[in-house]
């Protein structure tokens, strides 16, 4: 290609030079350039290799419809893959790399694929996966697949999110969009106007336009400035509407800095906008003509050729041939011609354009070749010539008429496709319009309107009239109004009378090997589409997936409709009958950072701190995530293993005194005259008979009869309970109680309140617990008879409201002392100070778990799974005795719940002299190894520091009836032996609790 920078013109600042790198080569452009325009100005013709065949590719378009110029931008952590050079604003020091070329652009080893092209037809991958062996091809395919590389370091940039509401969201800052926003703003409506580009003006950036006798650029600038002034308008450029969702929610991503962040400004901001009405002024995409070798560098869209001249002052070639089937390419030809570019010929598939357009072309001295089209391009390094053929009455090229025309670039226009992506995502239905050969909006589902080229109206004057009319209707529906202004715009060629010309094939010219590209990015040719049809893939959705047409990162912006056109010719039907594939968000690729926003790192899943969090760190706690809480696993002692640390904590607690911050324990207050009746329906065991001041263990099922949670309930008064839940389930159970009350038992007079984080809980544990608490200045009588095991008391401790439950998960004398959350830290400290004389030891979750396994207490979720019913954990008699209904009651009466041989919770006593049993190890029949039936598994297991031997719990088939049996446990190739015992290796009689 022989692109070059023009002396004048374009919205670039030639006084501000910008240096950048492309594939390591130093180049320079100007302020206002995109990477694509700067590359063209630097005569870079090959900018990448194609995905499948690694054919050299050049720039195709000038906007986000670009299919070829896919770039890796930046380096290191800031590197961004798969950006389109046509969308990347040039900034000083920008580093760009081509993707998909190995080892280099000039010398691409994988281009050998092209030699074997006949082996890679449509469906190649599907066929290859089946026959003869995918692994033969795998290394080559893996090497060839994939575009850019994601950075391997964390993203240093900040991303933001915000929500907004507005009356009217205008998407697209072309002339129609600006006009719509201006009218809406005048009416007093709250308006949000967004434009994906940095520049305003849309098609006016491509084809110079006069609005009210002034240059479109200055009209846009003054309109935008005027809108900026209005308090009811928000104006955002560099902002893409990427998705249209239910109930008029539109997702936007705003780019706040062109490329690199300063560490303070967010790089991008995601907006979730709920609009009363959405105005889609999204414009249209030009379609390339499909002909053999149309993917060669130097073949571009006609409008792109005009854009590079008008906006960037770049001519795409010195001798340009333009081929078209509609009038719009004439407008592009005029732009090039006026900039002094040699337009060697205008090849028109039709007999003629509109008379005034033809007249203007003739006046400018353009050579028009009618009833003809371009059928090939030639040249080994850069384009040298184009082959042009006449078309017969059946739209077939006449081989005999072929002639060669010297040129260094070819611009094509195969018609225009309205950008109906967002309209279609909103649920709107499309129709194929014969007159414009385009899919246009037919029927809306949500509150939106399409205007301008997005509505299939391609002539600016007509577009504006239509837009003003439709905005008027929208404003009326919002009880607003604005006076349309008389606006004169310069006359453009528009689309004219387009002629359908979907593809020209090599076969038609006796060159069957010559492929005509439909999808440039995914390397899909018209013959691939036809092959898919021959193999009976008829639905457009099937053809898409079989050929991968439109499935690349450009989402087929330039290729989908051409593919549909090729299908319609082959199927001898209307393109409307073929239909489009489903349009899905995002409209254009987005960064993942924009979706993540601030929810990265520690903010992804913030952990809740204990009230004593600061002290935990001082004490050397190893803090881990337990059900969303940051809790000590154990306290680290230098030079000691986790097991040694845990053992020390356990023994100190069992022998004297331990302290555990149990604040995350779920606490839900249940009040009201029907509180007892309600909780009796919630729990599997009887809660009505619980006496005031007493505590009771409660087992909660879900409606399927499966054990869901357990905890200690206290009855504070006749009509007032305090429900204890496991730490991880507190809010879920609070929600669940409300669901039952509001949706099922609506007549029960009960109120609930989740007070989990109102009360800090310090668990004082061990034989010296009573002696410790008696040292406090309190209203409590801790005497063994005054305050027995499983009792609840309220009072004051050091002048602070206090609730105490005498309950135990460790098997020792234990009190759960609750004070208002803000006093939790000082209570922890006070206990530590007063506990010094008893050699108090803080302990963590792992030590608590060790003690409860020694004691044989079940832990829901460890010793139960999604099949465990109360009968499986020794609750059979209790639920049998309860005649009332409760949640899950009917489910545990199912035959499966009542059958014998279910897995039941038992204790396991190691008999082989070995260490702790492996958790998850399977119980197998005598002498059996996998593959064999599993008779259950080990659910909890530790080496008991207290008993100096391994202790374990397990779910074993028929376990309750097999006490005393010896079993084998198989785990990862090792075999262990254990005896089934009743759970509770430590203090089975509970003597240590009742002291």
């Amino acid at each position: 290609m022989s692109a070059y920078r023009l002396e004048n013109g374009g919205y670039i600042d030639r006084s501000q030079q910008i240096s950048f790198q492309f594939d390591g080569k130093k180049l320079s452009g100007f302020q206002g350039d995109t990477l694509a325009s700067a590359l063209l100005a630097n005569h870079v013709d090959v900018i990448g290799r194609s995905f499948k065949y690694h054919r050299p590719r050049g720039i195709l378009a000038a906007g986000l419809d670009e299919a070829n110029a896919i770039m890796q931008i930046g380096s290191g952590a800031e590197s961004s893959p798969n950006l389109k050079a046509t969308q990347v604003e040039l900034i000083e020091g920008l580093q760009a790399r081509s993707v998909n070329a190995w080892p280099s652009l000039k010398f691409d080893l994988l281009a050998v694929n092209a030699v074997f092209k006949r082996f890679l037809p449509a469906g190649f991958y599907y066929k290859t996966f089946m026959w003869p062996d995918w692994h033969w091809f795998e290394p080559a395919i893996r090497n060839a697949a994939g575009l850019g590389k994601s950075p391997d370091q964390p993203d240093p940039d900040i991303y933001d999110k915000r929500s907004a509401d507005c009356d009217i969201l205008v998407i697209g800052g072309g002339i129609c969009g600006l006009m719509a926003a201006r009218l809406a703003a005048e009416s007093g409506a709250n308006v949000l106007l967004v434009e994906v580009d940095s520049a305003w003006g849309g098609s006016a950036l491509c084809w110079p336009t006069l609005i009210d006798d002034s240059d479109a650029a200055s009209w846009c600038a003054s309109t935008v400035a005027e809108l900026h002034q209005k308090p009811n308008v928000v104006v955002l450029n560099r902002t893409m509407a990427f998705g249209y969702y239910d109930h008029n929610l539109v997702g936007l991503v705003q780019r706040l800095v062109p490329a690199q962040s300063d560490g303070l400004t967010p790089r991008e901001r995601m907006w979730k906008v709920r609009a009363k009405t959405v105005v889609l002024a999204t414009g249209a995409f030009e379609r390339p003509l499909v002909f053999p070798n149309n993917d060669r560098p130097g073949v571009m869209l006609a409008s792109a050729g005009a854009s590079y001249v008008s906006r960037f002052g770049v001519a795409v070639g010195r001798k340009v041939l333009i081929a078209t089937n509609n009038d719009s390419a004439y407008e592009s030809a005029f732009v090039l011609k006026e900039a002094g570019v040699d337009v060697v010929a205008l090849v028109d598939a039709r007999a003629s354009a509109a008379s005034e357009v033809t007249q203007r072309a003739q006046d400018m001295g353009l050579v028009i070749i009618s009833n003809s089209t371009v059928t090939n391009v030639k040249g080994s390094s850069g384009l040298r010539s184009a082959e042009v053929c006449e078309l017969n009455a059946d739209n077939q090229p006449v081989a005999k008429s072929r002639r060669s025309i010297q040129c260094d670039s070819v611009l094509t226009s195969g018609g225009w496709s309205p950008a109906v992506h967002l309209f279609s995502q909103s649920g709107g239905k499309l129709k194929f319009d014969d007159e414009t050969q385009a899919f246009v909006p037919k029927r809306s589902v949500q509150n939106e309107i399409s205007i301008g080229a997005a509505a299939g109206i391609f002539e600016l004057g007509a577009s504006l009239a239509h837009a003003q009319d439709r905005i008027g209707t929208v404003l009326k529906s919002l009880n607003l109004s604005a006076k349309p202004t008389e606006t004169s715009v310069s006359k453009h060629a528009g689309l004219g009378a387009i002629k359908s010309l979907w593809s020209v094939e090599g076969e038609m010219l006796d060159r069957p090997g010559a492929k005509a590209w439909v999808d440039f990015q995914n390397d899909v040719t018209s013959s691939d589409v036809k092959l898919a049809l021959r193999e009976n893939f008829r639905s457009v959705e099937h053809v898409k997936r079989y050929t991968t047409l439109g499935m690349a990162s450009d989402q087929g912006k330039t290729s989908n409709v051409n593919g549909i056109g090729v299908m319609s010719v082959e199927l001898r039907c209307d393109p409307g009958d073929v239909g489009t594939t489903k349009f899905r968000p995002p409209y254009n690729p987005l960064t993942i950072g924009a979706f993540a926003g601030r929810r990265v790192g520690e903010n992804l899943n913030p952990l809740r701190p204990l009230p004593s969090a600061a002290r935990q760190i001082e004490l050397g706690a190893k803090l881990e995530d337990y059900g969303g809480w940051h809790r000590p696993a154990y306290y680290v002692e230098r030079g000691q293993s986790e097991h040694e640390c845990v053992s020390k904590e356990v023994l100190a607690t069992r022998n004297s005194l331990g302290l555990f911050d149990a604040s995350p324990l779920g606490k839900i207050e249940v009040f009201g005259p029907d509180a007892a009746e309600f909780l009796n329906r919630i729990y599997a065991n009887n809660m009505k008979t619980l006496k005031v001041g007493r505590c009771r263990y409660g087992l909660m099922l879900n409606e399927n009869g499966i054990i869901y949670d357990d905890g200690i309930l206290a009855r504070i008064a006749e009509d007032h309970y305090l429900v204890g839940t496991t730490s991880g389930h507190a809010s879920a159970i609070a929600d669940m109680l409300q669901e039952w009350l509001q949706c099922e038992w609506v007549h029960l007079d009960v109120a609930t309140s989740n007070v989990t984080t109102n009360w800090a809980v310090m668990n004082v544990n061990g034989p010296k617990a009573r002696a410790l608490l008696e040292k406090f200045d309190s209203s409590f009588d801790f005497g063994a008879h005054a305050f027995p095991h499983m009792h609840f008391r309220e009072g004051e401790l050091e002048g602070v409201p206090c609730r105490i439950q005498r309950v135990s998960f460790s098997g020792e004398l234990s009190y759960e002392v609750s004070v208002p959350w803000g006093y939790g830290a000082s209570l922890f400290d006070n206990i530590m100070v007063l506990g010094e004389e008893f050699a108090i030891q803080p302990f963590g979750v792992e030590s608590l778990m060790t003690m409860r396994i020694e004691k044989g207490f079940l832990h829901v979720g460890s010793d139960t799974d999604g099949m465990t019913v109360p009968q499986d954990v020794g609750f059979g008699r209790i639920v049998e005795k309860k005649t009332d209904d409760f949640v899950g009651r009917r489910s545990i009466m199912r035959p499966d719940a009542l059958r014998s041989g279910r897995r039941q919770l038992v204790g396991l006593d190691v008999t082989d002299g070995g260490d702790a049993l492996p958790i998850g190890g399977h119980v197998v029949d005598q002498g059996q190894s996998p593959p064999t039936a599993s008779r259950g598994w080990v659910t909890s297991s530790v080496f008991s520091p207290t008993l100096s031997k391994p202790v374990a719990l397990g779910l074993v088939e028929g376990g309750a009836d097999r006490i005393g049996d010896e079993i084998e446990i198989w785990d990862l190739g090792t075999r262990r032996r254990a005896r089934i015992v009743a759970p509770g290796a430590y203090d089975a009689k509970g003597e240590r609790l009742h002291v």
Binding site: L249, K272, R274, N704, D735, E739, C743, V746
Partner: protein, 96 residues
Amino acid sequence: MLNIKCPWCGERPEVEFRCGGESHIQRPGPHTEVSDEAWANYLFYRDNPKGVLFERWVHSGGCGEWFNVARNTVTHEILAVYQMTDPKPVLEDPKE
């Protein structure tokens, strides 16, 4: 993302709510008289209409109240919002 009109708080985005599935499901009882089949129907069998679905939602990130919603499963249009204790409203079948 739906825009749901909580009867107590007004229009709020879907992320503030949680869907509790189909509404107007009768919990059978007493448990001693319910057949396995009736219980399975209650637990697992739900309508899956192409069209209007009556379902219950809770404003979990707001007032915490449960209410019923009639939603078109094709267009996601919300046709009615009503209290838990209200009967199913009679809605005209929305034709394409």
